[in-house]
């Protein structure tokens, strides 16, 4: 499986200029708030139609602005789990999951689609959730139901928008390993938006760093950590502990975080490299 998506358009106040490609397994999309991560996912899903762009999955073109081709959202076979999971509040978990088989070209009988939903719940070892409405589910349970719903139709690609952000620390850990396990077992190409470096570690896939609508760096976590291209990457990968403004004479305008480094020595050692008025100091943990 392979996919490629390029887009060039101004959506709202954000100018997207992106060209990404990937294959099986998880891909992580990180970036500061407002950098265009969710917009990018929605464009791939087909909800937003960019002025210029192309989306190819496995050699099949789903969107091409040059040819005027735009396969509608419902025919792209793309799984999408938004922030907050997007469960339909008026349907029980089982009918939420079975929704994909209740409409469109893949419509099946109520019995068949509920059976399919039960089967996928069984695979995820959460059959007890079937009868509950979304408001009766915990955050982690909602996550599982949303994932089951997206996976039921065997999508070509799965888009997860901050899947773990709304969970508390303990549930997040459990759900992270659950997601890693399931995504590895399905092998489906997945784009995961995250703000958490632990997700990047756990999913162990290529990372796209998106800033102001552009990919500013691409690589695995280790390479990002070794040579962060921007402050954000340094901060995300844990390289940057604090930011300091050095005056031309090398003096520090603010102190570094207490206890992390012995500031005067470090600053002095950096002095010879100063060629601008402002320098960002990055310190990588050793070992």
């Amino acid at each position: 499986m392979s996919f490629r998506f390029c887009v060039r358009d101004t959506i709202g106040q954000l100018t997207l200029d992106i060209d990404i490609r990937g294959g099986n397994g998880p891909h992580l999309l990180v970036g500061p708030n407002g950098s265009g991560k969710s917009t990018l996912l929605r464009a791939i899903a087909g909800v937003i139609r960019p002025k210029f762009g192309k989306l190819e999955i496995n050699g099949e073109t789903l969107f091409c602005s040059n040819k005027g081709l735009d396969i509608p959202c419902e025919k792209r076979h793309i799984g999408y789990v938004p922030q907050g999971y997007g469960l339909f509040p008026h349907l029980r978990a089982i009918d939420n999951i079975a929704f994909g088989f209740s409409t469109g070209a893949t419509r099946q009988s109520l019995r068949t689609r509920r059976k399919a939903a039960q089967d996928i719940l069984k695979k995820m070892t959460c059959t007890t959730l079937a009868d509950r409405f979304p408001h009766q589910l915990s955050g982690g349970e909602q996550q599982r139901v949303a994932l089951a719903r997206a996976l039921l139709k065997n999508p070509r690609i799965l888009l997860l928008d901050e899947p773990l952000a709304a969970l508390d620390a303990a549930v997040r850990r459990t759900m992270r390993s659950f997601l890693v396990h399931h995504l590895q077992s399905t092998g489906i190409p997945t784009i995961i938006v995250t703000h958490d470096v632990r997700d990047a570690q756990a999913f162990d896939g290529p990372i796209w760093v998106l800033e102001k609508g552009k990919i500013v760096q691409l690589g695995i976590l280790a390479s990002l950590r070794a040579a962060p291209a921007t402050d954000f990457v340094a901060e995300f990968t844990g390289v940057l502990f604090d930011r300091n403004e050095l005056e031309p004479n090398g003096s520090v305008s603010k102190n570094l975080s207490a206890g992390l480094v012995s500031t005067p020595d470090v600053v002095r050692s950096c002095q010879s490299n100063l060629d601008t008025h402002r320098t960002t100091l990055g310190i990588r943990k050793s070992g």
């Binding site: 929605r42 799984g79 999408y80 409409t103 469109g104 893949t106 109520l110």
Partner: protein, 283 residues
């Protein structure tokens, strides 16, 4: 010493007093009506020659106007809720306008729009259509005065739906229309019901616009409020009976509609026994 807490307590008492006064003013007319007639009056009122035609006409016209309001109002409200264009803002203002215009003015305006000398008069006349002083005029007057209540409530309910729900439904294979009918409408249903009950109640009580635009013709355009107005001059007791019947009808349907709550909104939503075989309540 000036106690710091005294003011909030005084304000609280004042607040309670004002709120209670308002509740009394709102509620008092109902016992006032109920206590003013006897069973004999009730029988005489129900047997009055104007009663049945007016009640029947009111029920028929309000049901027709409500059906038309729902049919046209739901898509309009959806568009108003989803669009942020300037046109949508202007349309929202136009839709709300009849709420602030006195019904009598609406009646005159309707005459100027659909009357023989009105804007559309010549066009309608060319097709042999005359709207004023007909049942159509009754329905039209009801639609104009009550549709804003429905559209407003409906648009508010649609605005509360997370756009992601519609997006997810689309990615799962639902067409825009299917996502709207199967996801947006059921989620907004409580708001739609509230809007429908408000609009229906407003239609049932419509008087001014109907009187001016449709007239007060027994059996043709005389709805219950107009019948009350007619009999008030000859027999107050009959007017009281008509009023009580109208009140009871409005109150009953209003409460009944408000009591309808989908299963998923109830705190202890019951599970279906067998998710595989149960027919459930899938839309």
């Amino acid at each position: 010493m000036k106690p710091a807490l005294q003011h909030p307590i005084n304000l609280k008492i004042l607040g309670w007093f004002c709120a209670t006064a308002l509740v009394i003013v709102l509620a008092l007319p109902i016992p006032g009506l109920l206590l003013s007639i006897s069973p004999v009056d009730l029988r005489a009122g129900v047997n009055h020659p104007l009663f049945t035609p007016a009640l029947w006409l009111s029920l028929r016209t309000t049901c027709i106007s409500l059906a038309l309001i729902i049919l046209c109002g739901v898509p309009l409200a959806w568009w108003l809720a989803r669009s942020s264009s300037r046109l949508a803002r202007v349309v929202a203002l136009v839709v709300d306008l009849p709420i602030v215009i006195p019904p009598a003015v609406v009646g005159v305006a309707l005459l100027q729009a659909f009357g023989r000398q009105g804007l559309l008069g010549p066009v309608l006349s060319a097709f042999g259509i005359s709207i004023p002083f007909t049942k159509t005029a009754v329905v039209l007057a009801q639609i104009v005065v009550s549709a804003p209540f429905f559209v407003q409530a409906c648009a508010n309910a649609f605005r509360k739906i997370e756009p992601d729900l519609i997006i997810v439904a689309r990615t799962l294979g639902a067409s825009p229309a299917s996502a709207f009918i199967r996801i947006a409408v059921p989620i907004a249903l409580p708001g739609l019901i509230t809007g429908a009950s408000l609009a229906w109640a407003r239609s049932l009580g419509e008087f001014g616009a109907t009187l001016l635009f449709a007239g007060n013709l027994t059996g043709t355009t005389q709805t219950m409020p107009l019948a009350i107005f007619s009999v008030l001059e000859s027999d107050v007791r009959i007017a009281l009976v008509f009023s009580i019947v109208l009140t009871a009808l409005g109150a009953f349907l209003l409460f009944a509609l408000r009591l309808i709550k989908p299963a998923w909104m109830l705190p202890g939503a019951y599970p279906c026994t067998d998710p595989i075989t149960s027919k459930g309540e899938l839309p």
